[in-house]
């Protein structure tokens, strides 16, 4: 059933399908509609919605609900995510699944509310203390806001780890057709959960490992699951890359503009293709390398000062020249602007 839906609302539609039982959050532009949709919909089928006093409280309420085995989520934007970092580290350390949506806006500080992709480091590389990873998916459309939220719930449970839906103000605020049909999505059993029952009485959720050896062993186990995720969970999309001489790389909203720019540039005979990471962690390094090595050069475009750029560099390991074009502050490049950049890099090459 196609319905015209806002990206932020689609997150909750996806979450409901995934069996989300609780939402704890605090309002912030441009993410507030996620909380509003949760407040509207969740109680209608018996789910829990609580507006917390802060993002610090939100993420710890998420922690509590996750301990009890509930599929639970929260959403915010940059400033709120900064406050959640402590909790995210605890969730990762205690191996608790949950879904956290970051509808990115301009930073640092209060910045502004226009779209940026400048939380990449904070979300993809960590941001809280300690050795841990977030599973990160990056939707580029309203449909993906729902689909990747569902995927995030599944990955979170599969790896017992927080999963982040990393998107931006444009994808959150825009409306597009959403195709979502009800289907039964069954969450896995969580025998480790603490539910206040006789069967779960011996269970204990904690991130404390006082003995060095115990903590090392715990971290080795976490590392092992992260390696598994790197082998199994990378996702990406390619467009016109088979004969491309220039590969442009962008995620989220930028990938949309790049796609249009690729169409325009191709009209002028420029052999350019698009590589879009859908999972940012694990980063589809291998897929990118294969594609980029068939081409001559790479152009990375982000709404940041070059954050994903570092992962592209790691993936290509110096084997292809990489250029970067970033806009920040809430400025979003136009198609024409990106076509010009593409032309520039192709001409530079000859």
């Amino acid at each position: 059933m196609r319905q015209l839906c806002k990206g932020n609302v689609a997150v909750i539609k996806g979450a409901m399908l995934a069996g989300c039982g609780a939402y704890y959050g605090y309002p912030i532009t441009p993410a507030s509609e996620i909380a509003e949709a949760a407040a509207l919909y969740l109680p209608e089928y018996g789910g829990t919605f609580v507006q917390a006093e802060s993002e610090t409280a939100s993420i710890n309420m998420v922690y509590g609900a996750s301990c009890a085995g509930v599929r639970v989520m929260t959403a915010s934007s940059g400033p709120g995510l900064s406050l959640m970092q402590e909790g995210i580290s605890y969730l990762a350390g205690a191996e608790l699944p949950c879904v956290i949506v970051d509808v990115m806006r301009g930073g640092p500080g209060l910045g502004n509310i226009a779209p940026e992709q400048s939380d990449y480091f904070a979300m993809v590389k960590g941001g809280g203390h300690g050795n841990y990873r977030n599973l990160v998916v990056a939707p580029a459309s309203v449909q993906e806001m729902a689909d990747l939220t569902i995927l995030a719930f599944e990955l979170a449970d599969k790896y017992r780890n927080p999963a982040i839906v990393l998107t931006d103000g444009f994808v959150g605020q825009m409306m597009e057709p959403l195709d979502l049909e009800f289907r039964e999505i069954v969450a896995p059993e969580k025998p480790w959960a603490v539910k206040g029952t006789g069967e779960t009485r011996k269970n204990m959720v904690s991130s404390i490992y006082l003995e060095s050896d115990d903590l090392e062993e715990h971290q080795r186990r976490m590392e092992a699951k992260y390696i598994r995720a790197q082998q199994m969970e990378t996702r990406s999309e390619e467009y016109c890359t088979s004969d491309a001489e220039l590969v442009v790389v962008g995620f989220g909203i930028v990938s949309r503009i790049l796609r249009s720019a690729v169409d325009e540039a191709r009209k002028q005979g420029i052999k350019v293709g698009l590589f879009r990471p859908i999972t940012l962690w694990p980063f589809p390094s291998q897929e990118l390398a294969e594609t980029a090595l068939r081409a001559q050069r790479v152009l990375v475009v982000e709404l940041s000062n070059g954050q994903m750029l570092e992962d592209v560099r790691l993936a290509l390991d110096g084997k292809r020249p990489i250029e970067f074009y970033g806009r920040v502050g809430g400025n979003v490049p136009s198609i024409e602007e990106l076509v010009a950049k593409i032309e520039e890099h192709v001409t530079a090459a000859v």
């Binding site: 059933m1 089928y45 509590g64 301990c67 825009m174």
Partner: protein, 500 residues
Amino acid sequence: MSTHQVMTEKPMVSTDSYQVVHSKSGVFYSEYERKTDLKHQTHYCPGCGHGVIHKLVAEALDDLQVKDHTILVSPVGCSVFAYYYFDVGNVQVAHGRAPAAATGLKRACPDKLVVAYQGDGDLAAIGTAEIVHAANRGEKITVFFVNNAIYGMTGGQMAPTTLVGQRSTTSPWGRRPVNEGFPLHMCEMLASLEAPVYIERVALCDNKNIMRARRAIRKALELQRGGAGFTFVEILSPCPTIWGKDPIEARRWVGEKMVPSFPLNVFRDRKVEIPNNNVPPHKTVAELVEGEGKAGAHVALPHRQHLFHDLGIKIAGFGGQGVLLLGQLLAEMGMREGLEVSWLPSYGPEMRSGSAHCHVCLSKERVGSPLVSRPNVLIAMNEFSLHKFASQVVPGGLIIYSLGHLPEDFSAPQAQVVCIPAAEIADKLGSAKVANVVVMGALLEETECLSPGTAMQVLETKVKNPNLLEMDRKALDAGRVYIDHTVAVGAVTQADGFAQ
């Protein structure tokens, strides 16, 4: 009460007539896993109040027979390892966040007992917000607040409850209110809230008071078991190690120094009837997920032939003119006519300053950029928007200006301009609110991008009030007729963009 033979505490020296029982509650594990050795010992210092409180809590849980129904939330502080001792469901959380985590747990397990155990740094400093708001929401949890006037775990720094003049490693000259403020009185603070049902402060200063503490702890748990609201017991508790006193002196110090500063009292003991006006669950996820889409899907539309491959429309004007809604309607219509569509609004403070705009893409293929930087059509609902965006319109594009005349100083040589006094037309129909629908009529008539039939279908699903719907129908027609008419007489539309 089930008892075990193991002794965990040093016998308390009793000066009054209470009999001391050395036993171990069945809610304690028989062996503590914390260290491979020392399986019968807690990690607390001799004479520490935490040990006494643990015992009182365990006995109460045992007597209430809720071992299998209890979740204990351990804090960060000396009691961080509470989970090694209590044979109940255990969760360990970040410093100060126990009330928030307990909220998530209790909401997930409403018929279980959720107990948060916190120190004074945990609860009254770093976690002040969490405790106040959990109490204010009336979370049906029990919080045991151990006030020892110091940070024990980190080695004796000042706590928010440190007494005036009391030395600590971070108040080496004694707490001075001029620099560090006064001790925080949590019971009194929380008692100013509506929701809590039970708030009491007790002290472990002598056996009589320990018995009072025992009763308070029991009562709080019992209330929670009965489904009552937020229950809170503050326990003034000795920390002989940091205070540099022997256990007896420390206990005495609680009575002599702490109690005068933290008066013992029952601050709240009442049934709070909070009416439950939550609407019970009454929808399925399927209904909620598929939503309106389901209703719309019944109307099968023959896919129309569209003369464009893709069309970018920018609509701009004042907030309140229905700029964003007009864009949504167009996107919805496009979707129903089988097109790929997107709608992207301006959002946030910009809207509050009075202006609003949105971008609509209609396409036969997946929409790339939803941001229309070079619109085929600009709908300018005020002069400001006209000036601001006209130059973006592609050569040969269209500008619809919703006023009767173009401003004198305006020219847009590359675009065709249509002026329509939409507000006046709408006013005549009875409501200025439908000006945006008048403009839509003009757009559909001028470009034939989407069908007026689809417009009415969409309006029928969005506008529930029949009078308003009728007004919209008239507005749509009026916009179309106006274009029909003005184009016929060539009065307004001119290639050079100037109106006559």
